[in-house]
């Protein structure tokens, strides 16, 4: 198996799906000759031409609305929003229209589209190149929301998303693009949407996380293993539909839960998981459910000290784990 990074996994998935199905096409700002600002679509225009790799005007609402209209006609569009921070102009089309199209037509309209969204901080992106946007989509029935952390997962889940007949918000953490590497099998594979993955088995504390934070959680779990703290790390991979079973099974085993995400703490994915565990695994808990999440400031600021203050990291997770273990 070849070792590749996350952006290469994204590109492989796009290329393979475009080769497999002529209905699949990509569109967005700079996705053509430029190959996307992160090079996710690099080379696709040479292989598939301008009709299937469409450089759009710089206007997110129409990128999303046009993708939706094309999906109504049976195409499988993959619109790219250049940075998650720029998704807000497209929100009416995404939340208002796309998420409601199937339900609002009593199932007559299918929306087989995947909106790719590079998101997240820790890259000195400041307030408008770092945002976590997942909670709003997580809250929205009609959408599926995927946020993988590894090259293997991102390729397998992106392929599944492209083949799905419901709209998918596909979140790619920018910092993982070149930082995270992993083995990719040569042949065809997909990963089912809605299945979490236990990335590390353990007995004492469950961590639930996703995206970039997953890697910090694994580092922290390793760091405390020498102290006799045996941590299980659950990677959600798909946020909506949430894999409740995997989360609950892990918590029932360990009795303690720490939720880690970079998004703001209030009303985030972690709040829902805490509620789920309180509701359905209360008798199994051996301590309070804790969240280590982004604080309630609008986004991680630009200056290094301020960004560090915002971002959860391995050290902060280690400290949280020690407290959980001592409870």
């Amino acid at each position: 198996m070849a070792v590749k990074n996350v952006i290469e996994a994204v590109r492989e998935a796009l290329r393979e799906e475009m080769q497999r199905d002529p209905k699949v096409f990509v569109m967005g700002e700079d996705v053509g000759k430029r190959g996307g600002v992160f090079l996710a679509t690099q080379g696709l225009i040479d292989e598939f031409g301008e009709s299937r790799v469409i450089d759009t005007p710089l206007a997110e609402a129409s990128i999303m609305g046009i993708a939706l209209g094309a999906a109504f006609r049976g195409m499988r569009p993959i619109p790219e929003v250049q940075f998650s921070d720029f998704i807000w102009p497209a929100m009416n089309q995404l939340i208002g229209e796309t998420a409601r199209a199937c339900y609002g037509s009593n199932g007559v309209l299918q929306v087989p589209l995947v909106i790719r969204v590079p998101y997240g901080g820790g890259i000195r992106g400041g307030l408008f190149h770092s945002q976590n946007v997942e909670s709003i989509f997580f809250h929205t029935p009609g959408l599926k929301v995927i946020a993988p952390a590894t090259p293997y997962d991102i390729k397998g889940l992106l392929k599944s998303a492209i083949r799905d007949n419901s709209p998918v918000v596909f979140l790619e953490h920018k910092k993982t693009y070149r930082l995270v590497r992993g083995e990719l099998p040569e042949g065809e594979y997909t990963i089912p949407i809605g299945k979490a993955d236990v990335k590390r088995a353990g007995e004492h504390i469950t961590i639930v996380s996703y995206g970039l934070m997953l890697h910090y959680c694994l580092e922290a779990a390793e760091a405390v293993s020498g102290e006799g703290i045996d941590v299980e790390v659950v990677d959600l991979r798909t946020l909506r539909p949430l894999d409740k079973e995997t989360v609950l099974n892990s918590v029932k085993k360990t009795g303690k839960l720490l939720i880690v995400h970079e998004d703001n703490v209030t009303g985030g994915v972690g709040a829902e998981i805490a509620a789920l565990v309180a509701d359905e695994a209360f008798e199994y808990l051996d301590g309070p459910v804790k969240r280590l999440c982004g604080p309630d400031v609008p986004t991680m600021p630009f200056a290094q000290t301020l960004e560090d203050e915002y971002m959860p990291n391995t050290d902060k997770i280690v400290q949280a784990l020690r407290k959980q273990a001592a409870y």
């Binding site: 206007a59 046009i66 209209g69 999906a71 109504f72 006609r73 049976g74 195409m75 089309q93």
Partner: protein, 349 residues
Amino acid sequence: MPRKKITRPKGSGDAQVAIAEPIEGLPEGLATSDLVESYTQMILVRTMDERIWALNRQGKVPIAASCQGHEAAQLGSLLAAQKDGRCFLFPYYRDLGLKMAAGLTPTQVMLSFMGKEGEPYSNARQFPMQGADLEHNIIQISNVVGAGLTQAVGYALACRMQDDDTVVLTYFGDGASSQGEAHEAMNFAGVHRVPVIFICENNHYAISVPQHRQMATDDLASRAQGYGFPGFTVDGMDLIRCYEATREAITHARTQGPVLLEMQVERLMPHTTDDDHLRYRTQEELDAAHERDPVSNFGAELIARGIITPEKSDEIKAEALKAINQATDAADAANLPDPSTMWDRVYSE
């Protein structure tokens, strides 16, 4: 498409013209039988429109947006689309006449307004006739104005990607023309020469806000120049002109790219059943608008030209009333959706 003045023959009022004879100078593809058929549809739509307002006051129809005053624009453009046979429609919330004449029965329309089981667009999940009627080539997801324009462009783009020569007609009001998405849709369509026709039914009011508070120009059609495609202002109270303009626009869209048609109409009724337009319009203004009523004027013209007799016109109205009465009774007796269906089809099944 050359920028030419679209004219129609002035009537002689000669009642001796045989009913089957074509009118001299009728646009290509149009026969007198089409005019009679369109008039019959107009009467049916108007009778439905008046009925749903009455039913609203009786508490049986929660909400309705009237198309009174817009019938010629909607049915004239629809006639061109139907004769072409390769068109797809993205209408908006005031397009009752368009959606009805596209092929729904009066009972289906009435089910829609009463929110009953069997409603054709969404099985009564949405406001009347909102969702999709794919059997008649229509999608309208929402009533967020302007949102359908970009979707229509995407649909047309997909048709072209599939080597399908469908032309998409997307309808909107003057209010929606202020939305950013109206600009984005037209800009993209112009850049990519997408086979789409933007049809603005300009009734000069965004609920209560008059046109001069919405735009600093006298017309909307001139905007098209800024997007690199042709735009025309059409008398939207004249079915034949609307037919002809749309027919030419379809040819242009299929071969060269987008067209903007501004059909100038009157809104004869308040914005919706929840509105009182006398709060912002004078009775004199409304009286003048009613003088231009496209339905009664079209009927009078058909009679004056000898295409129909006054008796035939009365017969058409009586048939319409009968059909709407039957539809009202049928929808009144129909079931409400089963509450358990609320859970279905959040995602594609």
